[in-house]
């Protein structure tokens, strides 16, 4: 919702940011100052952010926050917080969502979705109710289906090629705040 209003005036964007700042502040009132004119450099740690009601039950919450944090450890400044919710909003374009979805599912952060990444994703998706053989089979089949250049892992191009054809990706990769 943030970016669609950037076309108009700065005041419009600020209204959305002010709302988000309210949420940011209530996560850690003692850390976050209300006055941002001095542009303080404060970051809220991962442990506090994943307690948000929108993220609390999400099995990928740690990865989501880590993908948007610059230091990779999950500590978000306010701008990164705004980034996170604007990418996860309803109106973010598909390409942007695909980029960040790829980052989220890439657990070992090597810019490829290898078999271990897929195994971890599956275990979180199904709360470990699939048997190990089934998990193995699903990972193999997934890589077989989506891997185009034959290196047995999914690069971003493979992932994007596959996810743009998924009809419900846009609607599921969405957090309402």
């Amino acid at each position: 919702m943030g970016n669609k209003q950037t076309i108009f005036t700065d005041e419009q964007l600020d209204a959305y940011q002010v709302r988000l700042h309210g949420r940011y502040h209530e996560l850690a009132p003692h850390l976050v100052p209300m006055d941002y004119t001095t542009e303080p450099d404060c970051k809220i740690p991962l442990a506090l952010i994943v307690n948000m009601p929108e993220l609390k039950e999400n099995p990928f919450r740690n990865r989501i926050v880590e993908s948007f944090s610059e230091d990779g450890m999950g500590n978000l400044s306010f701008n990164e917080f705004v980034d996170m919710f604007s990418v996860l909003s309803e109106t973010a374009p598909r390409e942007l969502k695909a980029i960040y979805a790829f980052k989220i599912y890439d657990f070992n952060v090597d810019n490829f979705l290898c078999k271990e990444d897929l195994e971890k994703t599956l275990n979180r998706l199904t709360k470990e109710e699939l048997t190990p053989e089934e998990v193995d089979l699903v990972c193999e089949k997934t890589i077989e289906e989506a891997d185009l250049d034959g290196d047995s892992k999914l690069s971003f191009a493979d992932f994007e090629n596959m996810i743009t054809r998924a009809p419900d990706f846009l609607s599921t990769f969405h957090i309402r705040i």
């Binding site: 070992n108 699939l130 599921t172």
Partner: protein, 825 residues
């Protein structure tokens, strides 16, 4: 292996960085990539100098190496042990190789700011070029695959020898030259932080309007912007309101979570049908029922009192109400100032206000026609949309991958819903896995023949049963017709008994609809199918055959027998009678479904658990239930012409049915044992709804309107030859009143009544379809070529990396030999 590497010279040219810190042991790519990004722009090459310290060269191998996927050109080398290993896996990569690998563009997508800027610079360049003219082939970078040159596939030049500032400037330059919409789209799609995007936008705007700052927008465009913002706000709030109003959201989620997508698709289909009926009801209510209710006609003398049987039979008290065709008047309703009714169309009353006149027969004709037309458009649109979603033009079919990555709904925040979703995902993944991994059984010719015989026998049973059904309905309806003729001739008959006897035919048809699918199931039991999907499709086909034939016979009975000679059974108004018949059929169908659901499924579950001793509950028969829904909807569509309030009856019926079915499914059924993928089922259901069902209904209605003469003493079309003449008459009147509009009349005469126009239209349609199919073919070829290209590039990549590694190995070998020689001396 390549022998042309000069090992004494540094490999790459000037401005290089040496991977001097071989001491550092790099275990993962994460660190390396972070280093590359933070260190700013580097060149792609590294110098492999002769290294003194080789002790800490070996690095722990990365978990996922390039496993042999059998697609490479490599011969598998054998180890000393005699094991065959892929060269890429056997040797752990050196630090140097890893450093190079970590700076590969494919690993730094989305991470290095410079790369992002370059990439988007190229994209904006492409966009600019595309909007100007088709570029010549010379503008394209040389690709090693000449076959796809000229298809507009430019290779992204990721890192050039420029600073970030320069790249940013070039990007801003390009952004300026794009249109506003394109610019915003580009900005929104960039994976940069909001702060950086704001910066870029500011720079672009700054250059756009050097005189005025961005906050001083002229007031009229500011007003325009405010209006647009307000409209967007209201649109989004309306969407969120609709979303919160989602009917039965929680129930559907529960059902989906427990039973999987198959059973859920039935309930979603029910919801779709409900919306169709709501639309139909709204249209008929607004245009037919409401105007007529405000101007009630004179009622005939005998009007029976309400009895309970009337609810089921639809006759009696309901005969002369808004419910049926006979009630509707054929005159032009006018708001009279004297408070009296105007009863004749030809007389000119004293106070006449033309603005408030309402031509009932025309309204009836157009309302029914328009609602059918709009329903047709909606059906065809949703059918094509769901077909488009499941149709793929290329061969790769990544259902499992899509399911894995797009099935987690990030919106869900309640703990119980999250558990539900995990269960749901688990079931769906198992379903897809079962479909994807199919084991082919080898059967001998004897077994194949036996199988064929069993199939043939089952089909013979089904077709025989259907034929028997059809014949019995035909003869029974004839018998009932004759019985009615007989009672019509008799003087005193008990009206209640007569009404009860009218229920016999609907009851018989509903009974047959109930029992015969059970017989089909029994026949299918002994057959063996390759996959559960085929079994479902065959069951669907057989049920469909039954329903279509029964409906065909019934239509013949109503339109061919009753409508042809209504005086035989003393009918004043045959349309009302047909409307009542349809009402009876709907109600009977509903009653039988209720009985079947409440008692049948419950009893079957008890029977199978206690008597047969099965530990599991029976499975929910999706095909049969869906076809029941479609059958009822067909009846409703046929009946709209004769009974404008029938959609309301159907709405009530569907609402009740939903809750009954949900509770029954929760109590008595369980998830299908052999899970199967039903993602295409929605497409099939909508197609079935469109083609046999809606098409049949509209054929019926069109035939009625076109060629059957309406009753002369009731309804809005009395005194007309056919119902269709209402439209014709109106056009003629229009022409008479305003001679200027004679063009309209001529157009009407040529377009609507002349079949030649339809032929020409259909011909053009077919040609357009042919062109589109050719385009799709061409795209398929391009996709195949591109996939081949990508595979070959992958092979290239593997080759280069192994070369790099082998060069490094060789150099290490040489330096070790040198050192040992030195130390030896």
């Amino acid at each position: 292996m390549a022998g042309n590497f000069d090992l004494n010279q540094p490999l790459v040219g000037a401005g290089l960085e040496s991977p001097a810190d071989e001491e550092g042991v790099h275990v993962s790519f994460n660190q390396l990539i972070a280093e590359q990004c933070q260190a700013g722009e580097r060149l792609d090459g590294f110098e492999l100098q002769q290294l003194d310290e080789e002790s800490r060269d070996y690095v722990a191998e990365l978990g996922s190496g390039f496993e042999s996927s059998g697609r490479g050109l490599y011969d598998i080398e054998s180890d000393d042990d005699g094991r065959q290993t892929d060269p890429l896996v056997s040797v752990p990569w050196s630090s140097a190789t890893m450093k190079i690998l970590s700076s590969m563009p494919s690993r730094t997508i989305g991470r290095s700011r410079g790369a992002i800027l370059s990439q988007y610079y190229n994209k904006t360049l492409q966009l600019r070029r595309r909007s100007q003219s088709r570029p010549s082939i010379r503008d394209f970078s040389h690709s090693s695959r000449p076959s796809i040159r000229g298809y507009g596939m430019e290779v992204d030049v990721i890192d050039g020898p420029q600073s970030e500032m320069e790249k940013s400037e070039r990007l801003v330059n390009n952004l300026q030259n794009l249109s506003m919409g394109d610019r915003m789209k580009m900005l929104r799609g960039m994976p940069l932080s909001v702060v950086e995007k704001k910066e870029l936008r500011r720079k672009t705007l700054q250059r756009d309007k050097p005189l005025t700052s961005s906050s001083k927008i002229p007031c009229c465009s500011q007003l325009k912007y405010y209006i647009i913002i307000a409209v967007r706000h209201s649109w989004y709030s309306w969407l969120s309101f609709l979303h919160s109003l989602q009917l039965w959201q929680f129930l559907l989620k529960r059902v989906g979570g427990r039973f999987g997508t198959g059973v859920l698709s039935y309930f979603l289909f029910l919801k779709t049908l409900l919306f169709f009926n709501v639309f139909l009801f709204l249209v008929t209510f607004l245009f037919l029922v409401l105007p007529q209710a405000m101007h009630p006609p004179e009622l005939p003398e005998e009007r029976r009192n309400f009895t309970g049987l009337d609810l089921i039979s639809g006759a009696g008290h309901f005969t002369d109400t808004l419910m049926y065709y006979g009630y509707y008047s054929n005159f032009t309703l006018r708001r009279s100032c004297a408070g009296q009714h105007n009863t004749s169309a030809s007389s000119a009353p004293d106070c006449l206000s033309k603005r408030l006149s309402y031509n009932m027969s025309l309204a009836y004709f157009f309302t029914i026609g328009m609602s059918f037309f709009i329903t047709c458009i909606i059906l065809v649109y949703s059918m094509s949309k769901s077909f488009g979603r499941s149709f793929r033009i290329d061969k790769s079919y990544s259902i499992l991958a899509m399911k894995v990555f797009s099935s987690w709904d990030f919106k869900v925040i309640k703990k119980s819903s999250v558990e539900l979703m995990s269960e749901n995902n688990c079931t769906q993944l198992k379903e897809i896995l079962a479909e994807v991994v199919q084991k082919k059984e080898k059967t001998g010719p004897c077994q194949a023949l036996w199988r064929l015989m069993v199939h043939g026998l089952a089909w013979a049973i089904c077709i025989g049963a259907t034929a028997g059904c059809v014949i019995s309905v035909y003869f029974f309806s004839e018998f009932m017709h004759k019985d009615l003729q007989r009672t019509a001739r008799l003087a005193n008959t008990n009206p209640l008994l007569k009404e009860a006897s009218l229920l016999a035919l609907p009851a018989l048809v509903s009974l047959l609809n109930l029992l015969l699918p059970g017989l089909f199931n029994l026949a299918a039991w002994m057959e063996e199918y390759h996959s559960p999907s085929v079994r479902t499709y065959v069951a669907l086909g057989r049920n469909l055959m039954l329903k279509v034939s029964v409906l065909a016979v019934l239509c013949y009975h109503w339109l061919g027998r009753v409508a042809a000679k209504p005086s035989d059974i003393n009918l004043v108004c045959w349309e009302t009678f047909v409307g009542q018949e349809l009402y009876r059929f709907l109600i009977m169908d509903f009653i039988f479904t209720l009985l079947n659901t409440l008692f049948g499924e419950l009893l079957w579950r008890l029977f199978s658990q206690r008597v047969l001793g099965r530990g599991r509950k029976p499975a929910f028969d999706i095909a049969r239930n869906v076809l029941d829904l479609i059958y009822a909807q067909t009846l409703a569509w046929i009946g709209v012409l004769f009974s404008p309030l029938l959609p309301a009856v159907q709405i009530l019926k569907l609402l009740l049915l939903f809750y009954v079915k949900v509770s029954s499914v929760m109590m008595n059924c369980q998830a299908p044992r052999k899970p199967y993928r039903v993602s295409q089922m929605t497409t099939i259901f909508i197609t079935l709804l469109c083609f046999p069902s809606f098409l049949g209904a509209s054929v019926c209605v069109t035939y009625t309107m076109w060629s059957i003469p309406p009753s002369t003493s009731c309804g809005p079309f009395r005194h007309l030859g056919t119902m269709f003449q209402a439209g014709k008459r109106w056009v003629q009147e229009l022409e008479k009143n305003n001679p200027d509009l004679s063009v309209v009349a001529k157009v009407h005469a040529y377009l609507v009544e002349n079949p030649f126009f339809l032929f020409v239209g259909a011909g053009i349609f077919l040609i357009v379809i042919y062109f589109y199919s050719q385009v799709v073919d061409g795209q398929r070829k391009v996709i195949a070529l591109l996939q081949e290209h990508i595979e070959k590039e992958g092979v290239d990549k593997k080759y280069l990396i192994t070369q790099l590694q082998s060069v490094h190995e060789r150099k290490k070998g040489i330096s070790r030999r040198l050192r040992s020689q030195d130390s030896g001396c």
